[in-house]
Assembly symmetry: none
Homo-oligomer: 194 residues x 4
DNA sequence: CATGAATGAGAATTCATTCAT
DNA sequence: TATGAATGAATTCTCATTCAT
């Protein structure tokens, strides 16, 4: 239904991210977003079917890109441990470089009700699968301890990274990507086959 | 301002948890909560200054209790590894036994805007401190690897547990507490001094 | 869902009729109606689920009452011709005494789309049935010419009355009830068994 | 202001009738009508000053044509009774053959507010005059009972026909023109001079 | 203390109309 | 002429909060 071309689509999405990061989701009216984007309220509805759809696009566009970027970073690497290292690095580096988007996607759009959850779930699951494949592979080739359920391992990896990012979001007095080496070490120590 | 005693206070809080767990935060009007609690809409305002304050009380009451409970569980234990084990067990067991509260506090009240965040932060930080003390102690007595920053370690522990609970909340087809042993093993492997 | 008691329910309905009769349906916002009724906008929604429901109530309340009034007027009469005479008289007299309601129900609420049509149809059909029973009876007892289909006769009777009322609504320079004798004569002449 | 020639003018009018008959007036946006006509939204405003003007044209074009057609049908007839017969026949036959237009003009454009009413009134009055002339003539030459006011008679004739058409519009399970003989008989019985 | 009817400030969305191309 | 993207005023409905009883 809604068209998805042109600068305006992008401008509105960008404005949405900025407004939400600044004011919080529940205080970000179409009103504000439109003004920030430099368009009329009605214009938003030429590009999005509803506010909710817009949020879904915000999430998918950014998180989708994020997942692909991480996947690409790991593509050339064959060693499982190095892959994990790369994942940790990429995760923290990319989000550090995109504070607003990180806030919106990780914190603000955690909104549980609404259809949003359903729609965003899919993209997130892509990331989960990426991690789980890495785990599986590492367990198969003897790099990682094979006694742990891969879903559980994924939850540890993702949960750890997520919590680290969230802490940083609330208190940005340190470098996020700077934590990568330690985080990697913690994870690899726990996961390595002995 | 508002008095905080009597069965009604508790009844309203309980009703709030139930209604929010059932309908989602943004679909839980004072209206519904009051009816569930068996009081008039206006009565809610005799016990709480605002809906937001009510949410804060919901969070504090439950999470505060949760933290104390966990602390108590660990009180008698002297061995750091066993303490960690107990923490993992208690975390998962208590939340498993309180699905509604778990949903509300971990998922629904993630709402970032609202003053809520600020208020909930304090209680949450008490939990963080509890974990960090455990880490510190373990590092001091040589149980845990001392090279990791205690805050980072706390984030790994809490992040892992949190993600595991959230996964379970969205798909309760398995026992949450049943995961405790594996989770503990994963964490202890990563954290142990070698 | 919506309660239907008290003066306010009536006050809002009355205000609606007045506002619609004055400004026309499509220019009668909840806004205006609420102000006219002396209540807040939101109050309207305590008594009606939606603007549409309100319109349905306006129609049903008035037309429903109208039909009953007409039926009552004819109750004691046994002669079919006299019954028809009474129907014509009552129809024109009652509407003449309720100009605003006549305008709203006969002219403004002719709105075709919306669910309204469906809901109002039922009440209107009650009136149609009343007329058709009268026709049937008159044909059975030999007062009316039995060669005409009763539905067709009903359409002539109702259509005639309706058109007369509508003309009057648009140009109230004459007495509506004053037309009754002539209208009755016209109808009875056409319908009488020869 | 707006030019009123060319295929596009006609195409838009035709599209309007189709869209309105299908979706109802209040759900027929310029948007839809333009698409149906195969032109851009803006183009509509090259041919019509406003949506309202467009509706007026729809009405006038069709009803105007209708009136002329009926007048023509009656032109050669000298006998008043036969003229009435022809009127009834033509009225029902023409509308039966133009269901969409009938719906739009008789049902959808009954919208009372909007300036429309005023504009459509004129065309409608032409039809009324046609009927009234017929009545006058018939009363003058002794065919019709002269005791009835000609306006009243016109209302009976038009009201009857209108109600019959509306009933048919809502339930097209029978032939409309097939009713002509009975309708004529009903009317002539009532109107004839005895 | 308790009630619940009333409030009214929003907020999302629609759509006739315009105007730069 | 024709386009169709952009506009923004307008409108319905929601819901936290108040206050007279």
């Amino acid at each position: 239904m809604a068209k998805k071309k042109g600068e305006k689509y992008e401008a509105i999405l960008e404005a949405a991210v900025k407004v939400i990061a600044t004011n919080g989701y529940s205080n970000s009216q179409i009103n504000k977003i439109a003004r920030e984007a430099g368009v009329a309220d009605g214009t938003v509805y030429l590009y999005f079917d509803s506010k909710e759809e817009m949020m879904i696009d915000v999430f998918n566009e950014f998180v989708g890109g994020f997942v692909e970027e991480v996947r690409l970073e790991m593509a050339d690497i064959t060693d499982s441990a190095q892959k994990l290292q790369k994942l940790v690095e990429a995760h923290l580096t990319i989000l550090e470089a995109n504070y607003n988007k990180a806030v919106v996607c990780l914190v603000e759009l955690r909104q549980p009700d609404i259809k949003l959850r359903q729609a965003t779930g899919e993209v997130l699951r892509r990331y989960f699968r990426l991690i789980e494949e890495l785990v599986e592979e590492g367990q198969a080739n003897g790099t990682f301890n094979a006694e742990f359920d891969k879903h559980l391992v994924r939850r540890m990896i993702y949960g750890t990274l997520d919590e680290i990012v969230i802490s940083w979001v609330y208190n940005r007095r340190y470098s996020l990507s700077g934590q990568a080496p330690q985080v990697y070490k913690m994870l690899i120590d726990g996961l390595s086959a002995s």
